[in-house]
Symmetry: C3
Subunit: 334 residues, 3 copies
């Protein structure tokens, strides 16, 4: 495949998430979307926030619709946020226990999808250990069905990225004035990939990737980020610090010497946080490894917005789900 073919394949791959009018029908990746689409998600999420941050309202937007959670990879936390978002939209929620379902008994994934569609499910929320799984599902669903990627392999985790954008926007306002540092295992992280695409689309001029060569290879520059090897320079005067979770399996993989050694070099404590601007916010997709990538005092500290991210995640998922469902063939019906 020559580079031009690759580019057009990638383009086709991205465009599957848009309907004929260029509106978001599936949400598979932040890559390739335009600023208006992302801004529309953020503004819709804002409309669901109540007067206080505890005031998220229940709205009837998806009443009578059925959302099926297809979690091939177990993640109680992410599944729960999607379930809560769906319920606040008044949808019915079906949690498919894939391990006990017919798929586990040898029924093919396509058979399972076709059956769930025939049962009149309107949306699939898909989590899978393999990159591209949500795209595969989106390629095969009926025109009235919408697919949301809840994390696929190392590829993308777009709702997580959008809740991060929402958090940044709430605390920092205009994206076009910001410096954002992402610290940790960027190369293996679907969260980081989706964040970087979203930050670029929203116009953040200074995006930094901070970590050792094994986790932050020099080639990441091709994504439009600046690569930093030490925390002091990587965090210097940034507005936003995004810490990534260090997967334990990376440790045993000889990519890193030890968790203690990692924390010594890249762990965020209150002393190092001073490299950033005094009003910088600290973000983390959770769950945190305290003492590995982040000190407990920072995670619970005044600059941490980690729990706000969780709350905003409900509003952002409500926004993505209601927008996507409104742009399917069924949603477009007059």
């Amino acid at each position: 495949m020559n580079p031009t073919d690759q580019a057009s394949a990638q383009q086709a791959f991205e465009q599957i998430q848009l309907n004929r009018d260029g509106k978001l029908k599936h949400f598979l990746t932040t890559e390739g979307l335009d600023r208006d689409t992302l801004t529309h998600i953020l503004e819709t999420a804002e409309s669901f926030m109540g007067a206080s941050d505890q005031g998220l309202k229940k709205v009837p937007l998806l009443r009578g619709r059925t959302v099926a959670n297809l979690f091939f990879e177990n993640s109680t936390r992410t599944r729960t946020t999607f379930e809560l978002a769906a319920k606040r939209l008044s949808a019915d929620v079906l949690n498919i226990d894939i391990q006990r379902s017919a798929t586990a008994k040898g029924e093919s994934l396509l058979d399972t999808l076709n059956n769930l569609q025939a049962m009149l499910c309107d949306m699939f929320v898909v989590r899978h250990a393999e990159s591209g799984a949500a795209h595969f599902v989106a390629q095969h669903v009926a025109p009235h069905v919408s697919v949301i990627n809840a994390g696929d392999g190392r590829h993308a985790h777009p709702t997580q990225a959008m809740l991060d954008m929402f958090t940044i926007r709430r605390f920092k306002g205009d994206f076009r004035q910001l410096s954002v540092a992402i610290v940790g295992d960027i190369v293996h992280s679907r969260v980081a990939r989706s964040q970087i695409h979203a930050l670029k689309i929203l116009g953040v001029p200074d995006i930094r990737a901070v970590g050792p060569t094994t986790l932050v290879p020099q080639e990441l520059q091709e994504m439009g980020v600046s690569v930093y090897r030490d925390l002091a320079s990587g965090l210097a005067d940034v507005d936003v610090v995004i810490m990534l979770r260090l997967q334990n399996e990376r440790m045993s993989g000889a990519l890193l010497p030890s968790t203690g050694e990692y924390f010594r070099q890249y762990g965020l404590d209150n002393r190092r946080l001073k490299y950033a601007k005094p009003d910088a916010i600290v973000m983390h997709p959770g769950p945190t490894n305290r003492g590995v990538e982040i000190d407990g005092a920072v995670a619970d500290g005044a600059q941490s917005v980690i729990l706000k991210q969780v709350t905003y995640g409900i509003a952002v998922r409500m926004a993505v789900m209601s927008i996507a469902m409104g742009n399917t063939a069924a949603g477009e019906q007059p």
Copy 2:
């Protein structure tokens, strides 16, 4: 027990599903019901279908009622369709994990039932590996509780049979003009038993059972079906072909030589489908064993209505649940 006693015992057994006015209160078996009752189910299901087949509406018929799914035998697919049907009727649904519940800890089934009733459950949907389990439950519930059989041993699977009748009616209209062939393991199939009773009650004049002696013994004739040993004559000019799932355990049970040999003799491929009428429909209760009892090209082909059956299953289960609940002691209250 002499034959007359047996007949009256059977009659009592059947009548438990009717209330004093002869209306359906529990749905345990299609056997012994009259044509009006089955037709009422089909017409009620039709009323739930929207303009399109994707348009099933949410109705408030069971608002405030609680449906408990008691699946002693695991079946995610069937449980899901009942759960979706109940939710579209606005009922609250309780999925009892029997394996983890007090019943598993030695509490008797009756204690569990009594407790669920005391918790004000209004309906039990029962799936059990033993024939007669749903009848047993129906014999012991309070007058305000309705019981739906979701499959009991080799005995009956009446909602599956009714969704099949609904599918035939939608595609073929008048039952009294039809030839219907059921192919496969009829003797061990609760689905086939319930289908045969329903087809007879609805007036289908030509019901055929097709398969080898081990799966379709000659005595099946006593149920009013014609027995065929070869597919060519069994399918000749039929309007409807119902393929049954071949249970793998039959294979190891020395009832059949091998799956390859079975497919060679009784598997449905496009060539053999030509024995039937050109506009014959192909049905299967799912999940299909592709290459065992049915070729993938037929299952996905133009004459297949397999996924339609799944959709119609929601409407039919909504019909059965709302009818039965309306005919209990509580439903009859003015």
Copy 3:
């Protein structure tokens, strides 16, 4: 710690469940509450009962609120009653599978709580094998969150105690005229502890604890109960007999000779029930061990109100949940 310190620590411990106005915000224990608070629970529960005992209504009191069931100790039965109560209050219910959640993966309990709060859960229903677990949770939640103790170690099971009070009140009326006997393993029972506190607060003048020294030590007198060693005198002329479930693990623990021997001395059969008043009611928290602490003929007999207790348990849990939620910081907002 000297006795005075202990008393004030205990008092602080109890007061955490009240808000600034002295109203119930969490429900952790019956101990230390006043008669008005308990009576308010009973009267609120009464308001949820319909014309008949099958007529519990669905009310919109908690619409838009989310209740999370945190069952660290498995109890399908108790979880189900809380789930049904929450749904009848129109709340959304989240059943957290603690075994599969991040808490099992090493995330601390506090992290899990903080995340669920950030997901805008409004109430935690907590069941835990360790005494004090629900208090620990209540100490750490946000001001808008309410905590209900669904059983913690040997400490308390206050909603069970209140459904027992509701049952006694329905059948026997004025607490201040009653004799109540509690029979069995009182020293290890959180149910018995909560019952005794509630009975005393509501003014029952004669509370009896009946059982062998290993299960009913003489020191129980300090709680204000009379200790009886034999059933004949313990049950003499009582209005209410509460039988406790005998935990099998007590048997192997050398506390008791054998279940047969236990039944011979303390098991309730119809002959012994005659010691009590002719119209005495028999209660049991369930599930019963027939032939161990209670004869089946008594459990199913005319004086048994065991299944009524289950029904009333839904109304009482609805009462506790709606009262507590109304007294949080969020509930108090104008």
